[in-house]
């Protein structure tokens, strides 16, 4: 019994880790990158109070945050084909996770933008800078510092959430584990194993977060 467990554990380790490296991590990284771009744009639109666009931004955040990501995955992957839009599983997952994470992250970024003292924006105007220049060079860099810990948190959350992509046939880590369970009938062992690998990935991200935070702590480091 014990030996069988060890054999299965070792045999399946690479079979789970490999899809993790080939699918889970790229899915997480790509989605998070696009989410950040969406988040900054959506946050800036609201921060600048762009008429019309601001309502659109609020609507987007409202819809995304108000519906389960699983439903969003199903709508995009299984629903859109009836409108003639056929997507491969992986791109469909990237689109859904980007839009989903983008909505949450935009709220984080917006709060961080609001936290930058308004006086610095006025000072920027007084030395002749334009709104965009002030945002790009003064406000956003400071806001991204503030937003770094909560965004790291979101990244860790997203990594685990990508397991939902199994539902739209993306053969990422969780689905790989499921397949091995179907073959070996060892659910406890394999689900613990895949959990362990998620834990391993998240530990690395947590470590990176604390290194990043230490670096960003003060301007000019310790002088």
């Amino acid at each position: 019994m014990k030996e069988r467990w060890i054999t299965i554990f070792l045999d399946s380790f690479w079979k789970i880790l490999l899809p993790g490296l080939k699918l889970t991590l790229p899915l997480t990284a790509l989605s998070f990158l696009f989410a950040l771009i969406i988040a900054v744009m959506v946050a800036l639109i609201q921060f600048a109070d762009v008429k019309g666009l601001k309502q659109l931004a609020r609507f987007y955040v409202w819809v995304i945050r108000g519906t389960p990501v699983l439903v969003q995955l199903f709508v995009v992957f299984y629903g859109l084909p009836s409108l003639g839009i056929l997507l491969e599983p992986f791109p469909a997952a990237v689109i859904v996770f980007s839009l989903n994470e983008g909505a949450y992250a935009s709220e984080t970024v917006r709060a961080a933008l609001e936290a930058v003292p308004k006086g610095q924006i006025e000072a920027g105007y007084c030395v002749g800078m334009s709104w965009l220049q002030i945002m790009r060079r003064i406000v956003l860099p400071q806001a991204m510092r503030t937003a770094f810990p909560p965004l790291s948190n979101s990244l860790i959350g997203l990594l685990k959430e990508t397991s939902l992509a199994a539902n739209i046939t993306v053969a990422e880590m969780f689905m790989s584990a499921q397949r091995i369970v179907a073959r070996t009938y060892e659910p406890l062992l394999l689900y613990l194993e895949v959990g362990l690998i998620y834990l391993f990935f998240c530990t690395i991200l947590t470590k990176l977060q604390s290194i990043g935070e230490r670096r960003l702590k003060t301007y000019g480091g310790t002088k």
């Binding site: 006025e122 000072a123 920027g124 105007y125 007084c126 002749g128 800078m129 000019g220 002088k223």
Partner: protein
């Protein structure tokens, strides 16, 4: 020669009328002190002059060009801002830039100067305010007095025709006020045109050549500095000066 001429400046916040028709003349080389009780509209007035706040009406003559404050165009505002500078009560330094970065930022982005050229000017103005040892320090690594001197250097870097100061020493610990006032004194002696909202009566007495006393959104008295302090006309001004003296100013 008149550099800045304001006539009938009005400003309301909602239904609250804060400025009720302000007139002001500033000649090149003037140091004008703006005094007045809290809430009289001094800050709002100064902010209107640099368009951080938009006045409702009034006429604004700068460098011989006349503008209608009710309908300022974007490029008019940009044009005036190029020739003016603002020093805030709470410094408002860019937290993510060093002292030198704070001073050069506007030169590089707004004036399209090359970095070496901007840094040459930046070092020059930081030296002038006595911060040659602090080029690479971030605002959070500087004392309040040093931060305000960086802010003054940032104002000087753009070579303005006038600098607006809004209570530049009010946020400072008492022992740090002197270093900032000394820098301002030096600027005055070099002929820099300045409009200074302040509660530092002795500074106003020594450095300004004109005084404007505001109350309740209006100019109650405007006079040459000597005259103003020797024999203020308005009873309200006399009372204000007496109260300040009693509080050890």
């Amino acid at each position: 020669m008149s550099l800045l001429e304001i006539r009938g400046l009005r400003k309301s916040f909602g239904s609250l009328q804060v400025l009720k028709g302000i007139d002001l003349d500033v000649n090149t080389g003037d140091v004008v002190a703006v005094l007045g009780p809290s809430g009289s509209g001094k800050t709002t007035f100064l902010r209107c002059l640099n368009f951080l706040e938009r006045a409702d009406e009034g006429s604004y003559t700068f460098d011989g060009k006349v503008f209608d404050l009710g309908k300022m165009k974007k490029q008019d505002i940009a044009g005036i801002r190029r020739k003016t500078a603002f020093v805030f009560q709470n410094f408002n330094l860019f937290a993510n830039r060093t002292a030198l970065g704070n001073v050069t930022e506007g030169l590089i982005t707004a004036r399209k100067m090359t970095k070496p050229e901007a840094e040459r000017i930046g070092r020059e103005v930081l030296d002038k305010v006595g911060l040659s040892e602090r080029y690479d320090y971030y605002p959070e690594q500087l004392s309040g007095g040093q931060q305000q001197r960086v802010a003054i250097a940032r104002a000087l870097a753009t070579d303005p025709e006038i600098i607006f100061f809004d209570e530049p020493t009010s946020a400072l610990d008492p022992e740090l006020i002197g270093e900032v006032l000394n820098v301002m004194r030096e600027l005055a002696s070099e002929g820099m045109t300045m409009l200074v909202v302040t509660h530092e009566i002795s500074f106003a007495k020594q450095v300004s050549n004109r005084v404007v006393f505001m109350e309740n959104g209006m100019v109650l008295e405007a006079a040459d500095s000597g005259e103003f302090f020797a024999a203020p006309k308005e009873a309200r001004v006399r009372e204000f000066l007496r109260t300040l003296r009693e509080h050890g100013n």
